[in-house]
Subunit: 164 residues, 2 copies
C-alpha cells in the first residue's frame, strides 16, 4: 500500500541547500535594495558558518520542499531582553496566505523560549512596505514612532515593538 | 616674558593616549555595566585601528589635557540618514557643567556635516539615567517610546530621536 503524504507547510531553521531560494525571495519581493541584498547574502553566510556566533537566525517557511518565505531575527546587542526582527519576506507568488504571520509567530515563540521580552521592528514608511506594516499591526505590534526622511527623501523609518 | 595660557576646553577626536582616561570615566560614572565596559574597551580599540571601518567615532571633551567626558556615535547600519548616539559620559567630578550638552552639539554638527538626518538615542528608564534623560530632553531630543523591562526587571528602554 502506497503511503499518501500530504504536502505539509512547516517552519524551521533555514538549511544550507535553501540559500538560493532565500536570495531569490529577497530579490523577488522588490523591497530589498542592492545594499540590503548584499547584507542578506553576508548574514546568511555567517549564519551557516555559526548561527549563535553570528547573532542572526534565519527561518524558512516551506511548502513541501519549496521555500515560500523567510524571517531573520536575533538578540539586540547590549539590550538584555530585546530582540530584533530584521526581515520577514514572502515570495510574491505566496502572498496573502499568512506566511509572514506564521513566521512572526514562530520568531516570537523562539524569542520567548530564550527568555526574551520584546521584539523590535524597524521598517520603511513607503507604499512598498504597506503590506508589511499592516501585517505588524494585525499581529499585535505597537507602532512607536515614525521619523520622516530617515532612510531618504520621502522614505521614513517606522518603528514597531511587541511585548513577548 | 612668560606666555600666559588659559586652560581651554575643547572637543575633538579621542587620542590614543586618552584610552585610560576614557575607560576611567566609563567606570566612574557607574552607569556602565560590566558587559558595556567591555564593549567600550573593544570599540575603542577598533576606533583606534580604523575609525571609518569600525563605524564608531569617539570624541573627547578636554579641559587642558584632562578628559572630562566622551561621546561615541556612528552611522546606523542600513539606515540611510540615521545615526546612533551610543554613549555620552561625563566624569562625576565634572558634571553639571554642560559637558554632555556640548558633546551632543558636537556630535550633531558632525552628523550634519556628513549629510545625516537623525540622531537616535537608546537609554535606560532607571533612576541612574535620570540626568542623561533630562539632558536629552533639554537638548531637543524627542522621547519616542518607553518599553518596560526591556533591559531587565524594572529597567526599561527609553528611545529618543532628534532631527538634525
Amino acid at each position: 500500500m502506497a503511503a499518501v503524504v500530504a504536502a505539509v507547510e512547516v517552519i524551521g531553521p533555514t538549511l544550507p541547500e535553501e540559500q538560493g531560494q532565500i536570495l531569490e525571495i529577497a530579490n523577488a519581493t522588490a523591497v530589498f535594495n542592492r545594499e540590503e541584498l548584499g547584507t542578506v547574502d553576508e548574514l546568511l553566510a555567517d549564519y551557516y558558518r555559526d548561527a549563535d556566533a553570528s547573532g542572526y537566525y534565519f527561518l524558512s517557511y516551506r511548502d513541501g520542499r519549496r521555500v515560500l518565505g523567510f524571517a531573520v531575527w536575533g538578540p539586540r546587542s547590549l539590550a538584555g531582553r530585546g530582540y530584533d526582527l530584521y526581515w520577514v519576506a514572502t515570495h510574491p507568488a505566496a502572498q496573502r496566505r499568512g506566511v509572514a504571520r506564521r513566521l512572526l509567530a514562530e520568531v516570537e515563540g523562539r524569542v520567548r523560549a530564550r527568555g526574551g521580552g520584546w521584539l523590535w521592528v524597524e521598517t520603511s514608511s513607503t507604499p512598498a512596505y504597506a503590506a508589511a506594516r499592516a501585517c505588524y499591526a494585525r499581529c499585535g505590534y505597537r507602532r512607536l514612532a515614525e521619523l520622516d526622511d530617515f532612510y531618504g527623501d520621502g522614505d521614513g523609518l517606522v518603528v514597531y515593538a511587541k511585548r513577548i
